[in-house]
Amino acid sequence: MSITVLITIISLSLLAMLAAVILYFVAQKFKVIEDPRIDEVQAVLPGANCGACGFAGCRNFAEALVKAETFEGLNCPVGGSSVMEETARMLGKEALAVEPLIAVLLCNGTPEFRPHTSRYDGVPDCRIAHSLYTGETDCSYGCLGYGDCVRACSFDAMFMNNETALPVIIDDKCVACGACVKACPKNIIELRKKAKKDRKIYVACSNCDKGGPARRACKVACIACSKCFKVCEFNAITIVDNLAYIDASKCTFCRKCVAECPTGSILELNFPPRKFKVEEQAEVKTV
């Protein structure tokens, strides 16, 4: 009996030793040397795996950061400059100043301004509706309102406003990952430079039709009358394809264009109420 036990123990020990020797050589042969800094950098990153940096996930981005000579072209919009500075400090590199961005919807066509002319009873999905026809209104550029962008957002920064049938972007939550921009088949979401106190002035319209048809389809459409272009002292406004565009990096938030716009397609958001004098001027002009 005792001999059986002994043989068992000896044979198992021999097997274990043999396996250990094989494993040692295999481990040597297939050794993967990984930079320990990748783990450290990954710990600093937000871990949302949203893909906003252009990489598949935070791990890939961490690898790219560690490998990179400079941080040019590498940015985590979710973490913003604080995260980028932190990673730069860890890796002994220099963080590049990146302007924070925010998503804005370039359409203000609520049912009140943009009446419905047909009814869509297909799948409530913007991509499918877009592939079939122009949409329920006469504007073929504006928001379809089936919420592909809301579904694409992984930060709960968007919701559909049922009254306006347009998506709303929550400034505090938006990290400018760009998922909604990619999801929108009409390409009407833009990432704009974030300003102080989240102030925004932009043309909330994407209609490239000429003034007449654009106005007929939607009361708040940009009709490319070029009044804003003329009033802007900072050359921030350009008009391409019957559509005005305000360059956020040149705009000084003087709000003259907003007062000048005859259709009200230029929106000003998060501003304090206008002073009386300005208000009066604006009224005289629009009458």
Binding site: T117, S118, D121, G122, V123, D125, R127, I128, S131, L132, Y133, T134, G135, S140, D209
Partner: protein, 443 residues
């Protein structure tokens, strides 16, 4: 009786206008003729504002091989080069012409005489088809001269003529076969000469016995043309299904009929070819069915290209009160219109006004894996799977499941007892996969 072996459905036929003779729709006051009425490069406009044009005059010339000429369908003055909505509602460049009289270009033979003698050589026929703007009138509007040019290294020994008209409601091809049978057969002979084949098969579904009898009798006088009745089954009018049904040849996935030595043309195209070659008449009008269950005066009309849909609806007695949807094309593959300003183009085979109680979609319910869609698919695909893959965004997998083979016939959506929007998602997935493949090639 012959038919294709896999899949297929039987939608209610509703051929309400099968007995109504083709009439001529009065020439409208103005037309808007889009320059992109065919698959391929849009034609480039050769007229300008205030030019006077005659009926049949070229107003836009083909650009490149896969393209086609566009002719004025009326005589009058060019009002403007503007945009007009197409069936999707998106704006397309079009030539607007204000009609003054109806003066045809002198070269067109307007007599009723039927000319049987074919004097042109095959090369001349192909050239004339290009000049006359002939495109496939079955609905796909592929330029016919491209199909008539057999690529080097390929061989063609069989011409198939599609007189199936498997879409419910539509009767334009049916009426054309009955009323212009001889012209169609001469057109077929011309196509045979151009392709240098001596055998042509005409496939007609057995729900059109009068057309089958008529063409069979006429075909006795023509060499090499045989008429075959086919068992009624949708989508028999699809090119690959028709080849399989008639010639028992299987076009492999991703290949063309010419790869199995076959070329398919529609009966409408054969008639247009006859008119172009024998009568010098370019393609500027076509037969369109206007129909619907509550339409007071449905019928088949020769309509000039560029006529707004609303003119045709007026001719049929105007909008019924209960109209829920206007569909351009057949009920299975047609498109719902959101404007009646949309012009009739070369590919418009019919306009259907559906009453509102018939135009509603079913509420979509969960898939119960009954596999009716798999049975219905004529291309051996698994629609329920393709839909899910597309919905989930798994496009690489969808590509492996051959989503690009789908011809969008809509049999799966039609048969689904749960009312699932199968085709909507498959179409989305197909478009995405094609885009992905194109980007891969560019890389």
């Amino acid at each position: 009786m012959k038919t294709f072996p896999i899949g297929g459905v039987h939608p209610p036929e509703n051929k309400l206008t099968a007995g109504s003779e083709i009439r001529y729709l009065p020439v409208p006051h103005s037309v808007a003729i889009p320059v992109n009425q065919h698959i391929g490069t849009p034609a480039s406009i050769v007229v300008k504002k205030d030019d006077r044009v005659k009926t049949g005059q070229v107003i836009a010339e083909n650009k490149g091989f896969v393209s086609s000429n566009i002719h004025s369908s009326v005589s009058g003055k060019v009002n403007k080069i503007g945009t007009v909505p197409d069936t999707t509602g998106y704006k397309q460049t079009a030539v607007f012409i204000d009609v003054e009289g109806d003066e045809w270009i002198v070269t067109i033979d307007r007599s009723d005489e039927i000319l049987t003698e074919i004097n042109l050589s095959p090369e001349e026929i192909v050239k004339k088809c290009l000049e006359s703007g002939i495109v496939g009138l079955g609905g796909a509007t592929f330029p016919s001269h491209v199909k008539l040019t057999v690529p080097s290294g390929k061989r063609c020994d069989l011409l198939i003529i599609n007189g199936v008209e498997c879409e419910p409601y539509l009767t334009s091809d049916h009426r054309l076969m009955l009323e212009r049978g001889e012209e169609i057969l001469i057109g077929v002979t011309i196509l045979m000469k151009a392709l240098r084949v001596n055998k042509a098969m005409i496939g007609i579904e057995s729900n059109k016995p009068d057309a089958i009898d008529h063409l069979t009798n006429l075909a006795k006088a023509f060499q090499g043309i045989t008429v075959y009745p086919l068992k009624v089954k949708y989508p028999q009018g699809a090119e690959k299904q028709l080849i399989k049904a008639l010639a028992k040849r299987e076009v492999p996935s991703g290949r063309l009929p010419i790869d199995v030595n076959t070329v398919v043309h529609n009966v409408g195209t054969a008639f247009a070819v006859y008119e172009a070659i024998q009568k010098n008449k370019p393609l500027f009008e076509r037969v369109v069915t206007i129909t619907g269950k509550s339409v007071s005066n449905p019928g088949n009309y020769f309509v000039r290209i560029g006529t707004p849909v609303k003119n045709l609806i007026e001719a049929a007695g105007g909008f019924p009160d209960d109209t829920g949807k206007i569909v351009s094309g057949g009920p299975m593959m047609g498109k719902a219109l959101n404007s009646t300003e949309v012009p009739i183009v070369k590919g418009t085979s019919g306009i259907i006004l559906f009453p509102s109680n018939e135009s509603k979609r079913m509420d979509s319910m969960p898939c119960i894996r009954c596999a009716k869609c798999v049975q219905a698919c004529a291309l051996n695909l698994e629609p329920y799977l393709l839909m899910t893959l597309s919905e989930m965004g798994l496009f690489e997998r969808a590509e492996k499941e051959r989503i690009t083979d789908c011809m969008e016939c809509g049999s799966c959506s039609f048969i689904c007892p749960a009312g699932r929007p199968l085709l909507d998602y498959i179409r989305l997935g197909k478009a995405t996969v094609i885009k992905m493949a194109r980007e891969r090639v560019l890389k």
